[in-house]
């Protein structure tokens, strides 16, 4: 009977919260816009691979007076015509390239040194110098990689040309004895959207509980309406449960919106079972609900609630592996990462969505989320009851 009443009271509080939410035009617009902006931003800010490079302004300097330098220039131009990767311009020397990079006119430069032909003729390797704009590390690295690749390829062909006397089939094998073939787990070429969409879904669910919940309670505290519920003969838990239900609904709607946007606008494909995706979203709710309640119990004003949430959310967002792979982080950050539930939510979501994994493949993630959620619920529920009875 008591449990039934508790559920009924929470359901009505949830009804009230959702009704208020549905009647706020601003809130509805934000509900739609937030995921859209999120996807567009992250999708376009991070370029996904070197193959995407196009029309990068690069200066080319030939300081070599011999035929090898000219030959290299011709080959490079020929290759560039096919790929359209670079916009080649001229420069007088290394200093000039430096000046042009400072001025922002070019993103990098290729220098053929003076002794290029001489070295090759003498049977040594010919060195090509690559300069990049290091103030933009991401672009700099990509330019370096792309140019190294181009020069590598050109070298291979040069070598084949030199050995052309022998059988053409075996020459490639002589120059490049090893080659790589990539076996995809799933079809197609995962884009950055594909990488980031599962993470954002987990993140939005997290945000709805971590910011939505403390905000919902502290707002009612500030305006005085919370007293109305507190003075009614209802279980204190009904209040928080009602709010959790409302926030969960909101978070799930937003998560599903992101999924739809990702699929319809950004061509993201789900390889796994969509029901498992929804289940992971619910588990994400479970894993964060305790933490959300805990923060709520500590904050008495809306202002402090927002501040605490921001401080906690940012590290979680970045350390949870939503935008960057965790493996790229330094060791101590990976350690922090490994205790954040968002890390596991993102990982599980990614495995299911991108790799088509099943329930059996994500047991570690599920276990961690459940345990984390239960531990924090055990801590936070008594704290919340105490906070309500100050």
């Amino acid at each position: 009977m008591k449990a039934k009443q508790l559920l009924s009271h929470s359901a009505w509080i949830c009804w009230k919260d959702l009704l208020e939410f549905a009647r706020s035009k601003m809130a509805l617009v934000m509900l739609l816009l937030m995921p859209l902006f999120m996807m567009i931003m992250v999708g376009f800010i991070f370029p996904d691979s070197a193959a995407m490079m196009e029309d990068v302004p690069i200066a080319l300097v030939d300081l070599d007076s011999g035929p090898m330098g000219e030959n290299f220039t011709m080959q490079l131009e020929g290759l560039n015509e096919q790929t359209g990767m670079m916009v080649l311009s001229g420069a007088t020397d290394i200093e000039d390239i430096r000046t042009q990079i400072y001025a922002g006119d070019i993103d990098g430069g290729i220098v053929i040194p003076a002794n290029f032909t001489q070295n090759i003729m003498a049977g040594q390797q010919g060195t090509i110098i690559i300069m990049t704009d290091q103030s933009n590390p991401q672009l700099s690295m990509q330019t370096q990689q792309a140019l190294s690749y181009v020069i590598d390829e050109m070298g291979t062909y040069a070598a084949i040309g030199m050995l052309s006397a022998s059988d053409s089939n075996t020459t490639l094998a002589t120059v490049q004895p090893y080659t790589v073939e990539i076996e995809d787990l799933v079809e197609g070429d995962p884009s950055y959207f594909q990488f980031v969409a599962p993470g954002i879904m987990a993140m939005v669910v997290m945000m709805s509980l971590m910011t939505g919940l403390p905000h919902a309670i502290s707002y009612e505290k500030d305006t005085g309406t919370l007293d109305g519920m507190l003075v009614a003969p209802i279980h204190r838990l009904a209040i928080i449960l009602g709010k959790v239900l409302a926030q969960t609904t909101r978070g799930m709607i937003q998560g599903i919106l992101i999924l739809l946007l990702a699929m319809l606008l950004f061509g993201v494909v789900i390889y796994g079972n969509i029901l498992i995706v929804l289940l992971i979203m619910l588990l994400t709710v479970l894993s964060f609900v305790g933490l959300g309640i805990l923060v709520t119990s500590f904050t008495d004003k809306e202002e402090t609630a927002s501040m605490i949430m921001m401080t906690m959310m940012f590290p979680m967002m970045f350390l949870g592996g939503v935008f960057f792979p965790i493996e790229q982080m330094p060791g101590f950050m990976q350690t922090i990462s490994s205790v954040l539930p968002l890390t596991y939510a993102t990982s599980a979501m990614r495995k299911v969505m991108i790799l088509g994994a099943g329930m059996g493949d994500i047991t570690t993630e599920i276990l961690f989320m459940v345990i984390f959620g239960l531990v924090f619920l055990l801590i936070s529920v008594p704290m919340f009851k105490r906070a309500m009875n100050k």
Binding site: W12, R23, T223, D227, L230, V231, A232, P233, K390
Partner: protein
Amino acid sequence: MTEEIAIQTNELTKKFGDLVAVDKVSFDVKKGEIFGFLGPNGAGKTTTIRMLCTLTRPTDGTATVADLDIKKDDHEVRGHIGLVSEKLIMYDRLTAYENLKLFAKLYNLSKDQMEKKIDELLKLVHMEKWKDKQIGTYSTGMKQRINVIRALLNEPEILFLDEPTLGLDPQSTAEIREFIRKLNTELNTTIILTTHMMVEADMLCDRLGIIDRGKIVALDTPENLKKMISGNDNLVTEMNIPNLTNTMVETLQACECVKTISRLDNTKIKVQANGDDAFDIILDTVRAGGGKITSVKNLEPTLEDVFLHITGREVRDQANVKQRAENRGPDGHSMGGGGNRRVR
């Protein structure tokens, strides 16, 4: 046979850190009476009410509400009370009906009970036509009407009203006061209300507790309280002295018979004094100081004078000082805007 008691407190105390908001307050409220707390903002009225409504735990002391202990049986207490707090307990984006429905559901009313009760209450405050409009579109007076009937959904034996007419226009104020009286006489609801308005306290309350700095400094019927300072040897007089100076006020204050003195404006003073020859002494003192008295008016004592008499301060001054302290202090419940309203 003792009179039936609705509320009994015993040295009820609430501290917020070092600040003692309510200091060992003991009083009884009889069933069926309208009991008022009068005092400036920050005096501890709201905190006392919040403790009795189980919204705040007392630091010390005990209290029973409807014969239930507010600490041990807090959950049960809630079923017997209604609260109209200083801040509106309503959601602007919900209609009046939806607001009432939510709280009816929290009080476990069945669907039929709920419909009946909501209709009945809406009729009582003449708001039937507005029931499907969002609260946000209401005027302050309309909001307060819904706010008050919201507290009546569970037919409470005891109704707490914290500054129920704060910020309302004169007409709404009159309506709400009338409504409170009606509730008391027709439904025999015990009513505890707080106010810093002397007139309101005087008009509505059967008994009054004057509360100042967390302590109840006087508790009686409004008539008896006023009698404290009226009578033969008590005098409240207002004088108009066009050439009034500070020295005159100071000399008057030095007189033994003068209890309190307040300057109403540049030329008017109000003097409270006792003693058979107080009036003569005052007139002589003013004249001796070169003062020219153009008019003298003897006043009936008001509750304001009672407050002044007991605490030696005016409600207004007290309110201002307290309010400033309160804005910094942890007790932010009574930061109403009406604190420095002059009441006579």
